[in-house]
């Protein structure tokens, strides 16, 4: 049985801040009720979005519980003035409350921007959960029970006597816990309604309606609770959106915030047929992101690509405007130069090309892969050329390759100042083409590019697509480049 204490929100003063934000970590249960300026509204939102995108990026480069991950995330939290520590000195308290207030308000603003579609919600929930998990692990065990209680999670840890009684049963219920490990941790009694997944699969000891959860697993329980609450809250928020959108001060900002993540998926090709096959070699050097440049090169050299490569490159080509007929011609011409005869091509490979254009089978018009998808799924193995070079290649090889592409040193240093962010190979292509052809660039392109060679914009952007992880290595490299 859970009993809920109502949190009372009183007027602003120092003590009130202590009431409002007793912890650096919160469940965002109550929305903020004060007035803030538009400027603060915008800054807070943008900063939190930056934070969440960083979380997404480092989550891809590092194991989420590793030290490097924690270090990177802490650095970002400090930089953006978000709370990152549980134990705070007396004299730091004022600043700390400011950070917690920012954390609180920015979260709620982003809810407005990210509640609208399933995809947006999913992304938002994922990053917020990762942030929560990180902060949760930073809570020292002494503060833990207090944290639970402040957030109305009435999970009590059990005393010695009860431990003795239930110890063996817990070990028998849970394949992950040995007797030795169990000795070292607290055990909490959690009502079964809060851990349905464990109950369903009978992976937990259940007695009298309570499950016995060792500390190690309590994070899963709390995280699930967090996810459920947030998911429900987003659904509620979505219903009140029309009112929010009618405020014309907020609407443009909120739209910008949500598009900053999703962007296009490049499935609707506006440039169909505008690319000729003869142009591809040249384009690959000028406007292709590194991954696609590699794939094209490998295809030309080997007259063949494996399935992963065909998918990634083939869909990219579709995204830049190749028609089905062109694609068939392109691949056929190349494969025939290799070991595949025309007949075999028509019988096997042609089918899958048509399939990816949505002309066969269940007729899904597959969309070109985004960077995230390339990085996270289907890692390349020996003999493959697909994947993301900034993620999947050997760093040494990568350095050499980039050197050979003549990336100027100062291009890299300006990356941090740009608001340009790359999430999609086709985005790279589109922006690069825009820049080269002198068209208006809708995004804030890197304004401080030095050097005028045609290679520069494309290659600078190529460098920008690195995850912040690789940034350090590259910076070192290019300080000495000619």
């Amino acid at each position: 049985m859970q009993f809920f204490r109502k949190q009372r929100i009183s007027r602003l003063n120092g003590d009130r801040q202590a009431d409002m934000y007793p912890h650096s970590l919160q469940f965002y249960g109550q929305p903020p009720t004060e007035n803030i300026s538009l400027a603060e509204f915008e800054t807070f939102a943008v900063d939190r979005l930056r934070l969440l995108k960083t979380i997404e990026n480092i989550g891809v480069s590092y194991v989420k519980t590793s030290e490097q991950y924690s270090k990177k995330l802490e650095a970002e939290l400090r930089k953006l003035l978000f709370p990152y520590r549980v134990d705070v000195d007396e004299k730091e308290l004022g600043k700390e409350y400011e950070k917690r207030r920012k954390d609180h308000i920015s979260h709620f603003i982003l809810r407005l921007a990210y509640c609208q579609t399933e995809d947006l919600r999913r992304w938002f929930i994922q990053q917020e959960m990762d942030l929560f998990r990180y902060r949760f692990h930073e809570i020292p065990e002494e503060h833990f029970q207090n944290f639970l209680n402040t957030n109305n999670l009435i999970y009590n840890s059990i005393n010695e006597e009860e431990r003795r009684i239930v110890k063996l049963s817990i070990i028998h219920s849970n394949a992950n816990i040995s007797a030795v490990k169990l000795e070292e941790m607290e055990i909490y009694k959690v009502p079964f309604q809060d851990v349905l997944d464990l109950v369903r699969s009978r992976k937990v000891y259940l007695k009298g309606g309570y499950t016995y959860i060792p500390h190690k697993e309590i994070v899963t329980v709390v995280l699930n609770d967090f996810r459920t609450r947030l998911s429900k809250a987003l659904a509620v928020t979505a219903r009140s959106l029309p009112v929010v959108h009618s405020d014309e001060r907020l609407q443009p900002l909120l739209n910008h915030l949500s598009h900053a993540y999703v962007g296009q998926d490049y499935s609707i090709q506006k440039n169909i047929g505008k690319i000729s096959l003869e142009q591809i070699d040249n384009l690959s050097l000028k406007s292709f992101p590194l991954c696609m440049r590699n794939l094209h090169k490998a295809l030309r050299e080997n007259h063949h690509l494996r399935h992963g490569g065909r998918m990634q490159y083939g869909l990219f080509l579709k995204g830049i405007g190749l028609t089905l007929e062109q694609a068939l011609q392109f691949w056929r011409a190349e494969f025939v130069k290799g070991k595949v005869d025309a007949d075999k091509f028509d019988k096997t490979y042609a089918y899958s090309i048509r399939h990816s254009f949505g002309k066969e089978g269940k007729r899904t018009d597959y969309t070109p892969f985004s960077c995230m998808k390339i990085i996270l799924s289907n890692a390349p193995s020996q003999g493959d050329h697909h994947g993301c070079p900034f993620r999947h290649s050997d760093p040494e090889l990568l350095k050499q390759k980039l050197q050979s592409y003549k990336i100027p040193g100062n291009g890299i240093n300006q990356v941090d100042d740009c608001n340009f962010s790359l999430n999609h190979p086709n985005q790279y292509f589109a922006e690069s083409q825009s820049l080269l052809n002198g068209k208006d660039v809708k995004r804030e392109a890197p304004a401080k590019i030095s050097g005028g060679s045609q290679e520069t914009p494309a290659n600078v952007k190529m460098a920008e697509s690195t995850s912040s992880a690789e940034m350090d290595d590259l910076e070192l490299l290019f300080q000495d480049a000619p």
Partner: protein, 395 residues
């Protein structure tokens, strides 16, 4: 004097039943749940099956008196109880679509003897006999123990369905408030054997070490259930007579299976067969055969649950004290303290010739069980009502 039940006589018998025998007072006290929550009884859905198979849903009543009057007027052949809704069920069309929601209902379980057809050789489909009724006793023991001790549910009413099974109504407040997802989690926790339509697809029981405490308790429950059974190892004997079952269970251990096959040809008594089974299992060196004998017993005895019955908050289930139209038997509560004495064939039927007083007496002991059940619950509501009135400041 006993008489054969004739379904055609229902229209004549039911009026008497609803006028004199149906325990309206206890029934209302139950479903009203002490009046702690406003409109709890009024928002409850009932469904009636009337003469000529006419089925009406969304029936609801304002109080006990209205319930009595309507039931006596309509004389339903069958009564189902559904959920407590957000509005009066008979208003479900008038309410804005989406707002009419099932909010609470007892957690229920339905054990049907047909789901044991793969293991019982004495009867099949709708028939039951004393031999296979033992399986029902086991089911009640196993589930009742788990509901009480693992989940902490205190108010559990077991009811004979009138023909070939039992139902369980878990009436604790926490149970009534469970979401669909929670209900299915409870049902899955309690399931070892998946019933997926038709005996061929029943999942085999597979145990892994360490064995979850829940499972450890099952044999204990089985043994308690069989306490009065005089055979040396009652279940063991039933099992060892069932070669088809053993064949299926040993598919992963063909060596053991071959040895058993020859043993069974040699030994003809069930005692000897069971002993040989245990011996072979011990001899088997593979990891997956270590618990084979337990698996076989569980495969035979373990209750088959239909998760779909338990998971729906709006699911309609046959009401206690409803009549079974095909058998004429009344769905009576089972006294779990005297489970072994329960005889489904001795349950009163709604037949014509016995005198009303006789009927009232024979039904009486089951009404008593029901009364006790309601009284137990009333104790817990009293505490709640006090708390409520304290909070509101009435004295």
């Amino acid at each position: 004097m006993s008489d054969v039940y004739d379904p055609a006589s229902l229209p004549d018998l039911l009026p008497l039943y609803y006028r004199r025998l149906f325990p309206f007072s206890q029934y209302f006290r139950w479903l009203n749940y002490g009046g702690v929550t406003k409109n709890y009884f009024q928002n409850r859905e009932f469904s009636f099956t009337l003469k000529d198979d006419i089925y009406v849903r969304y029936q609801c009543f304002s109080n006990q008196s209205e319930l009595e009057k309507e039931m006596q007027k309509m004389c339903p052949y069958k009564i189902d109880i559904g959920a407590v809704y957000s509005h009066r069920p008979n208003q479900h069309n008038a309410v804005k679509s989406g707002s009419f929601q099932a909010q609470e209902k007892e957690l229920v379980f339905d054990i049907d003897m047909t789901d044991y057809d793969d293991v019982r050789s004495c009867c099949s489909s709708a028939d039951i006999c004393h031999k296979c009724w033992t399986l029902m006793k086991i089911a009640v023991r196993v589930l009742d123990r788990a509901l009480k001790e693992d989940f902490g549910f205190e108010h559990r009413l077991w009811v004979y369905s009138g023909r070939r099974g039992v139902h369980c109504w878990v009436c604790d407040e926490a149970a009534r408030k469970l979401s669909q997802s929670a209900r299915s989690a409870v049902a899955e926790y309690l399931s070892l054997i998946r019933v997926v339509g038709g005996s061929e697809t029943i999942k085999k029981v597979q145990l892994s070490t360490p064995v979850h405490p829940f499972i450890t308790y099952v044999p204990v429950s089985i043994n308690v259930a069989l306490h009065y059974c005089r055979a040396v190892s009652c279940v063991a004997s039933m099992v060892s007579d069932n070669w088809v079952l053993i064949y299926k269970c040993t598919s992963a251990s063909p060596l053991i299976r071959d040895m058993l096959q020859s043993d069974f040809q040699k030994y003809k008594t069930s005692v000897k067969r069971w002993e040989s089974l245990k011996k072979r299992v011990k001899q088997g060196s593979q990891k997956n055969s270590a618990l084979l004998d337990s698996e076989i017993v569980l495969q035979y005895c373990y209750p088959r649950l239909d998760v779909n019955v338990s998971k729906g908050v709006n699911h309609l289930l046959k009401s206690p004290f409803s009549v079974h139209p095909k058998t004429g038997r009344i769905s009576v509560p089972i006294d779990t303290r005297q489970l072994d004495q329960f005889d489904p064939f001795a349950v009163p039927t709604i037949s014509g010739e016995e005198d009303e007083n006789y009927k009232r007496t024979s039904l009486g002991k089951y009404v008593k069980v029901f009364e006790l059940f309601v009284e137990q619950m009333e104790k817990s509501w009293k505490g709640q009502l006090l708390k409520q009135s304290d909070m509101q400041g009435d004295f």
